[in-house]
Amino acid sequence: MAEVAVALRDITRTFGSGDAAVHALRGIDLDIYFGELFLIMGPSGSGKTTLLSIIGGVLSPTSGTVSVMSTELTRLSTSEKTRMRGKKIGFMFQEYHLLPHMTAAENAAIPLLVNKEPWNNAIKHAGEYLADVGLGARSSNPVEKLSTGEKQRVAFARAIVHEPQLLICDEPTAALDTETGSHVMGLLRKRALSSDRCLIVVTHDERIVPYADRIAYIVDGKVTKVISGQRKGAAQ
């Protein structure tokens, strides 16, 4: 049995108070393991993104405990959580949030710069990751001049360039056609998963279900079921 990478115990999250209170999460218990591509699915407003934010340490739960790589996030200060995110967690946002007016390599290098790697090393290192995702020739191009698929790959390179143990992806294939989406999921399995790393993906996209090791379904802030996936693209 693989080691637990993320452990969630009785997580609740409420926004607002009184009559206006919205209970986004209502007692989530989950274990997510190293070496696993874990999919979180559910309808809009079910609490997927809130759960992802809590796992990523960018949002605190109202109650419950979150343990990420054996560190209980709820016990960390804001600055400790910030440092942990910089070192151990990679993010791939749905809207990419690439910095405009900068090249693909400069964008991909940001996590390395956050970890105080010198500029030239970081750009070189980021260039290698971009080459790995097929953007070697475009690493010096401004991100505005890249296609949506290329931006996606820059965002992916940025998410993994510092080799985080936990990679969090929010709707990574939402804006992509089936072929590009499959390519991205293959890339995620190949480049971001290993026995000491873990990949969590929030999605609506049924097309990527076959790539998952396990899938959790959330409805109204509760996990309704967790099932095994087909592990398409997994190393045999």
């Binding site: 960018v58 749905q94 910095l99 940001i110 970890n115 970081a122």
Partner: protein
């Protein structure tokens, strides 16, 4: 301080948004330009109000106690000279006459002039730079020295030429180079006695008594003794200059008007800079939230924004000072009546003001950036 990789990212974020970058720098440039230009002219004008004090150069000036500034001429009784000479601590005391008169030019037109009569024995108060003629010729009949800038208003007379002052012939025996006074009047130097001949008779004809204190004398004591023994006011050169400047600053509209224009420059510059920088920050809020999510801490974000604002501040300051200096130099060269003085204190003050504008702009932006939740990046 070492520039980190994230500092470079901050600069690229700033410079990459070319339109806003130019607008922020232009706002500061405009503000700095206006302030340096206006205040330089203002200081130039104020300096001119005290030009005669520096030209005459005596260390202590004795005058009527009611005087408010150098041009507030309050004639003294001729006995004042000997009274002052009798005060302990006075090494020498000489008379000085100053008056504004009208000269009648050979073509029949009139021109206001400033007449300065200096002690004929010692020539204390004489101009330091003679550019044509000889100082000794001041003792010749009807002789006067005239300042170089004044020649233009008198129709460019040459050495030996004459014009009339109060129906008396004045003959130019020397041309001198002295500081221009406030109204840029031609300055005529002659002996004290001849100055009185050029002037309509008055009961009191001594304007100032110029004093040199003994080397061992206390200035404070000397001033006190002059007041007690003669009832007159003794001022050091610096005190008379300060009094004159204070008068023009507080008793005329010059100070108020220049201050309003300068303040407007500051407000407009600060508004443009603050607004544009704020918009820049707001438009990049999601990017800053993403940086926060990726592990950029609060202090690093503060450093990034301060760096951005400092860079636009320094650039805007440099461009503003450069543009103002260029314009001032051109105007000083092309316009004879133009005056401007840019002391280092003005440049330091303007730099401080620029940094203040930038600090305000940075605070506005930081307020939003620090409040934005990193979880924002997961919201559509």
């Amino acid at each position: 301080m070492l520039i980190t990789g994230l500092d470079k990212i901050a600069l690229k974020m700033l410079i990459g948004d070319r339109g806003k970058y130019i607008a922020v720098v232009a706002g500061i440039t405009f503000s700095v330009f206006l302030i340096v230009q206006m205040v330089s002219v203002f200081i130039g004008i104020l300096k001119r109000t005290t030009a005669d004090i520096r030209t005459i150069g005596a260390p202590v000036w004795v005058t009527d106690p009611s005087i408010k500034y150098i041009d507030d001429l309050q004639p003294l009784s001729s006995t004042a000279l000997n009274s002052v000479r009798s005060v302990p601590g006075v090494e020498w005391a000489v008379p000085l006459f100053i008056s504004n008169l009208r000269a009648r030019l050979p073509n029949g037109t009139f021109q206001s002039i400033r007449l300065i009569g200096i002690d004929s024995a010692s020539l204390v108060g004489r101009p330091a730079h003679i550019v044509a003629g000889r100082l000794e010729d001041i003792y010749q009949s009807n002789a006067i020295l005239i300042n170089k800038r004044g020649l233009r208003k008198l129709g460019f007379p040459k050495l030996g030429d004459t014009f009339e002052v109060n129906d008396r012939q004045a003959r130019i025996v020397g041309i001198v180079d002295v500081e221009t006074n406030l109204f840029d009047l031609p300055i005529i130097f002659t002996t004290f006695e001849r100055a009185l001949e050029f002037t309509p008779p008055e009961r009191k004809q001594l304007t100032f008594v110029l004093v040199k204190p003994r080397a061992d004398a206390s200035i404070a004591r000397l001033k006190d003794d002059v007041r007690r023994r003669t009832g007159l006011l003794a001022l050091t050169k610096e005190e008379l200059q300060s009094m004159t400047i204070r008068y023009y600053l507080t008793q005329t509209g010059i100070g108020m008007n220049f201050s309003i224009i300068t303040l407007l420059g500051f407000i407009v510059g600060a508004a443009i800079t603050g607004q544009t920088f704020h918009t820049f920050g707001i438009e990049n809020l999601k990017q800053f939230a993403a940086l926060k999510a990726m592990g950029v801490g609060k202090w690093t974000l503060i450093r990034m924004v301060i760096l951005q604002s400092a860079i636009v501040g320094i650039l805007g300051y440099g461009l503003g000072v450069g543009a103002a200096s260029l314009l001032l130099n051109i105007l000083l060269e092309k316009l004879p009546n133009y005056t401007a003085v840019t002391p280092p204190q003005l440049l330091i003050g303007t730099l401080f003001m620029t940094m203040m504008i930038c600090a305000i702009a940075a605070l506005l932006v930081l307020g939003r950036i620090l409040r934005v939740e990193p979880a924002e990046v997961f919201r559509g």
